[in-house]
């Protein structure tokens, strides 16, 4: 049965992940805010665990933002995962009033410029978050090669990201043979 502490945690996790989700415009765009709230401020989990959450979200099918469910799980177990799922899907329903009332105004230059500014700021934030996660991920020449190969394959080819995850896991296993 859920205790008072769990209920508080559920709503706190939901609120923090919803804030991250509401201020991003792509699956991984919420990463800087999740890292700030859960890794830096609350130490609910580590950079390595956040990386693992992204891996878990990408290993199966479904949208990129699924890592929020995993982040919720790391912060609060199954109730946290449920909070993460709710935070992931809540902003999506904003599209319904947008469809009904905004319609073609999405092409308005002012609106488009504001979104562009938002996306550029989000990219800068993503760089800021990616630096410590990259430093955590790169533990030697092997991981550096995997990182660069992953970037090149995802950026310049149409490789399935699940295939890339499977391949990099196999490459990680292969390193055991050379130890």
């Amino acid at each position: 049965m859920e205790g008072p502490q769990d209920i508080v945690s559920f709503f706190v996790i939901y609120a923090l992940l919803l804030k991250a989700s509401l201020t991003s415009f792509s699956g991984l765009g919420s990463l800087p805010m999740v890292r700030q709230d859960f890794v830096v401020e609350r130490q609910a989990f580590t950079d390595r665990q956040l990386n693992t959450a992204v891996v878990a979200g990408r290993t199966g099918p479904g949208p990129y933002g699924l890592y929020l469910v995993c982040a919720g799980y790391l912060a609060g177990g199954i109730p946290g995962a449920l909070a993460g799922l709710l935070a992931l899907i809540t902003p999506a329903f904003l599209v319904i009033p947008l469809m009904r009332w905004l319609g073609r105004r999405a092409e308005n230059p002012r609106i488009r410029n504001a979104i562009r500014g938002l996306l550029l700021a989000a990219a800068g934030l993503l760089v800021s978050s990616s630096v410590p996660l990259t430093l955590d991920a790169v533990t030697g020449p092997f991981s550096l090669v995997v990182l660069v190969a992953s970037f090149v394959l995802l950026t310049f080819t149409k490789i399935d990201s699940a295939l890339l995850m499977g391949g990099s896991a196999l490459a990680g296993l292969a390193t055991l043979l050379f130890r």
């Binding site: 201020t23 415009f25 792509s26 699956g27 990463l31 805010m33 665990q49 990386n51 891996v55 878990a56 979200g57 990408r58 290993t59 099918p61 479904g62 949208p63 699924l66 469910v69 995993c70 799980y73 790391l74 799922l85 999506a92 904003l94 599209v95 319904i96 947008l98 469809m99 999405a106 002012r110 410029n113 979104i115 500014g117 938002l118 996306l119 550029l120 700021a121 989000a122 990219a123 800068g124 760089v127 800021s128 978050s129 990616s130 996660l133 991920a137 995997v146 990182l147 190969a149 992953s150 970037f151 399935d160 890339l164 995850m165 391949g167 990099s168 896991a169 990680g172 296993l173 055991l176």
Partner: protein
């Protein structure tokens, strides 16, 4: 894709089944899933016109959160109303979320196992590469031309410096970026 619908709207159960099947068996990201849904909903079943499908795609991109989920909400709403939006979103996300939790549980449980840690080490490095690829994907449409490049460097660069070296939290940075974008127009649109 055709511009007109010719089929009556489906039952909620039928709509849910389509989103469940395509959303949870398609790997490779949002665009692939959207392409599959377009083939099924517009071309094959004609439950929604290509115009409305395209509008849903455009508006999903400016809706906060994950674009693919907003897209499914928009298309589900167009076909079966608000209940359709809820059904489409849940059918897309709940099964994948269960799989993701099983993966993270397995990864956490394997922390002391050297074989599991070697596999996780490889994937963690690949995820770091994925993040840099995402950054490039966000920036790529906004570069080209001296003034546009200057905007990219100033807005994205300032956001990076503010967050990394001055500890500014993401929310005010996002707000400032949006305001600057609103006031400083993109040369391409002028």
């Amino acid at each position: 894709m055709t511009g007109q619908t010719s089929s009556p709207p489906p039952s909620l159960g039928r709509l849910t089944e389509i989103f469940f099947r395509i959303g949870n068996t398609t790997f490779g990201g949002g665009y692939i899933t959207i392409g599959m849904l377009g083939r099924e909903l517009v071309d094959t079943r004609r439950w929604i016109s290509s115009d409305k499908f395209d509008l849903a795609f455009a508006l999903a991109r400016v809706t906060p959160g994950t674009n693919l989920i907003a897209f499914c909400a928009a298309v589900g709403e167009q076909i079966c109303g608000v209940a359709g939006a809820i059904a489409a979103v849940l059918a897309l996300t709940v099964p994948s979320a269960v799989v993701a939790v099983l993966f993270i549980y397995g990864f956490e449980a394997g922390q002391t196992n050297p074989i599991a840690m070697a596999a996780i080490g490889g994937t963690v490095a690949a995820v770091a590469g994925m993040m840099w690829s995402t950054i490039w994907t966000i920036l790529r449409p906004h570069v080209g031309g001296a003034l546009r490049n200057l905007q990219v460097v100033l807005i994205a660069g300032s956001a990076f410096i503010a967050a990394r070296y001055f500890g500014v939290t993401p929310l005010p940075i996002i707000a400032a970026g949006t305001l600057i974008g609103f006031l400083w127009k993109d040369p391409k649109t002028s």
